[in-house]
């Protein structure tokens, strides 16, 4: 009796939670339809995205703007994100595999970095020698990437609009 209670109880409670917190969100949010702000990647940008994942850029940069709006001259929602641009929508990420929403901001959020900085030359220079264009930055240099890889990575960053 007791072992059956252990196995059945442990797996039963686990299954219940998995149904609500994994299966339901899967039905609700996996493979969402695209909309006007969905990130769209060229083949080159997709290669750049794989480099972004491989080099662990996502450990220090988030790609999510939490909700905020200005009401009667005051910020409602998350003030910390109020200068980061349009708050993220779930459909923005419809093409993202894996997700790179991130959990830490050792460096700035990159959800709209492509709109903030649309010069490819700047991006490549910054990736090679961050402190040359951004004084006081503690980002590592990615000068060890090939020119082609840097170009792909810059294309990806510019696609984040």
């Amino acid at each position: 009796m007791t072992p059956r209670l252990l196995i059945g109880g442990a797996l039963g409670l686990f299954g219940l939670a998995v149904f609500f917190t994994v299966a339901l969100p899967y039905v609700q949010t996996n493979d969402l339809p695209a909309w006007e702000h969905t990130y769209r990647y060229s083949e080159k940008a997709l290669r750049g995205r794989a480099i972004y994942v491989r080099e662990g850029c996502w450990y220090c940069h988030t790609q999510q703007v939490r909700p905020w709006k200005v009401v009667d001259g005051r910020i409602e929602g998350v003030a910390a994100d109020a200068d980061l641009g349009r708050p993220s929508d779930p459909r923005d990420f419809a093409n993202d595999r894996p997700h790179v929403l991130g959990t830490e901001r050792t460096g700035p959020d990159l959800a709209h970095v492509g709109s903030r900085q649309s010069s490819k030359e700047w991006h490549i220079k910054h990736l090679k020698d961050p402190r040359e264009v951004s004084d006081g930055s503690i980002m590592p240099s990615f000068a060890y990437l090939s020119d082609e890889e840097l170009d792909d990575l810059a294309d990806y960053l510019m696609a984040l609009e």
Binding site: L6, E55, G73
Partner: protein, 471 residues
């Protein structure tokens, strides 16, 4: 190599674990150094920050803590079940395979083979290997369970065997192993059936439950075993322990989305995670209260045995981290300031390096003489405790204070409304200013971290010295 000597698998697992602890914390210190000297070793791809960070996290999670847990269970569970471990040979084989998997994991991560999911970075073939290792451990321990000579199952047995069932499932879901594999992005051989915000939800279901249903529940099982052994008193309340077990089994699994508060995922899932996160205070309280009452009148043990020192402080760190999690990280108004800051990094370290690492140390100091017939030197044990503890306190204070600085600076905004056009202009403090303000805290973290690393190498040397003395 595949010895069938009693407890040889346990000893081998524990010693391997401590070796991974030394290596992984050393890599952690290298990563901490890179915050201050970003160019240091930065021109070599496999020594760059983004490659080494996952080696550090996977090393401490799956090398150090998980191997220490298996080593402890291989000793504890046969005793509680009144029998011998089903197969020492299989246990030793598991240990060799485990070490090989972690080594391959470290190498592939350094080479940039990364799935892009925090704590689930290992690529698909290694995911299968890790799952296989959990199957081997399950096999050995359930076979032991079937050969048991006791009727009543002590609290630790519930915690440990339930964790053994949950963890491979959590791992398989988190890594998307149950679905047909799809490869995208060639370079990183990323395999995921999940997309966008749903992938984030699965990521944190996994990330949180590998902590909750493996590191927490096996850790608590170890505490319940060591407590009566070290104090010489029966547990205050077996019933309270079982209430704790069933509440944590029910409550923990739902809480992952609190890593994504205000995120783009479903709001209802966030709210569910908040409610269940706060409910976690119930099982935590059962552990802490039971601990407190059992140790009543025996607190002086702290000064007498290293295992008691580490256990008492470990449970204290557990209490602190379990208050910090629900009450600061998992509540919207506080999360919106502290999310993405070093406050959260501090929380993760308090749980894994504070609570569960201390519990493992307590177990090793208690088990070591019983496994090898030799004590660890008393002076070495004291050094280990005080250097680790002082380092940890410096480390924690730097991360929390730094996190408060980041959160405050980022949240400081001025709004200028032009009433003629009804347009609002928002100005904040430049991000780079907050980076500059963090530097003193990064230095402090490095100082605390180096003390911790030094203490672990010293600990490994002490274990090896006592082993040599036996031979």
């Amino acid at each position: 190599m595949l010895s069938d000597k009693k407890d040889s698998a346990s000893e081998r697992f524990l010693l391997s674990a401590v070796a991974w602890l030394c290596l992984s914390t050393s890599i952690g210190a290298m990563v901490a150094l890179k915050f201050l000297f970003p160019e240091w070793l930065g021109s070599i791809s496999w020594l760059s920050f983004g490659r080494l960070r996952p080696v550090h996290t996977n090393g401490v999670l799956f090398g150090w803590l998980s191997m220490a847990y298996v080593g402890a269970m291989f000793y504890i569970l046969p005793r509680l079940l009144g029998t011998e471990l089903w197969s020492q040979r299989l246990g030793n084989l598991t240990c060799w395979l485990w070490n090989a998997t972690i080594l391959l994991g470290a190498l592939t991560l350094a080479l940039g083979l990364n799935q892009g999911v925090e704590y689930a970075e290992l690529i698909w073939p290694l995911d299968l290997a890790v799952a296989g290792l959990f199957v081997l451990v399950n096999w050995n321990l359930w076979a032991t369970f079937l050969a048991r000579s006791v009727d009543r199952l002590y609290i630790s047995i519930w915690y440990m065997f339930a964790s053994l069932l949950w963890t491979p499932l959590v791992y398989a879901i988190g890594n998307g192993m149950l679905f047909p594999v799809t490869y995208t992005g060639g370079l990183a051989s990323i395999a995921t059936p999940y997309s966008g915000v749903n992938h984030a939800a699965v990521n944190w279901f996994y990330g949180h439950n590998v902590i909750g249903l493996w590191f927490t529940t096996v850790g608590v099982g170890i505490v319940y075993y060591l407590l009566p052994k070290i104090s010489g008193k029966p547990i205050h309340s077996h019933r309270l322990g079982m209430i704790g077990f069933w509440t944590i089994a029910f409550v923990y699994v739902w809480t992952g989305q609190h890593h994504l508060l205000y995120g783009p995922g479903p709001d209802w899932l966030e709210t569910v995670s908040i409610v269940f996160s706060i409910s976690l205070l119930i099982p935590v309280w059962t552990v802490v209260y039971n601990f407190w009452r059992t140790l009543e009148g025996r607190w002086s043990l702290f000064f007498e045995q290293p295992s008691a020192k580490f256990l008492i402080l470990g449970v204290w760190w557990y209490f602190l981290t379990c208050l910090q999690g629900p009450l600061t990280n998992a509540i919207r108004p506080i999360s919106k300031v502290l999310h993405f800051t070093n406050w959260v990094v501090g929380h993760a370290h308090l749980a894994l390096l504070g609570a569960f690492t201390y519990i493992c140390f307590s177990a090793i100091y208690y088990l070591w003489p019983r496994l090898t017939g030799r004590e660890v030197g008393a002076a070495a044990a004291k050094r280990h405790f005080w250097l680790t503890t002082l380092g940890l306190i410096i480390f924690m204070v730097s991360l929390w204070a730094g996190g408060l600085v980041q959160g405050t600076v980022w949240s400081y905004k001025t709004v200028d409304v032009d009433f003629a056009t009804d347009q609002a202009a928002i100005t904040g403090i430049p991000f780079l200013k907050s980076v500059e303000m963090m530097l003193p805290y990064y230095w402090l973290r490095l100082a605390g971290g180096l003390m911790i690393v030094l203490a672990q190498w010293d600990f490994l040397a002490a274990l090896l010295r006592s082993r040599r003395a036996r031979a």
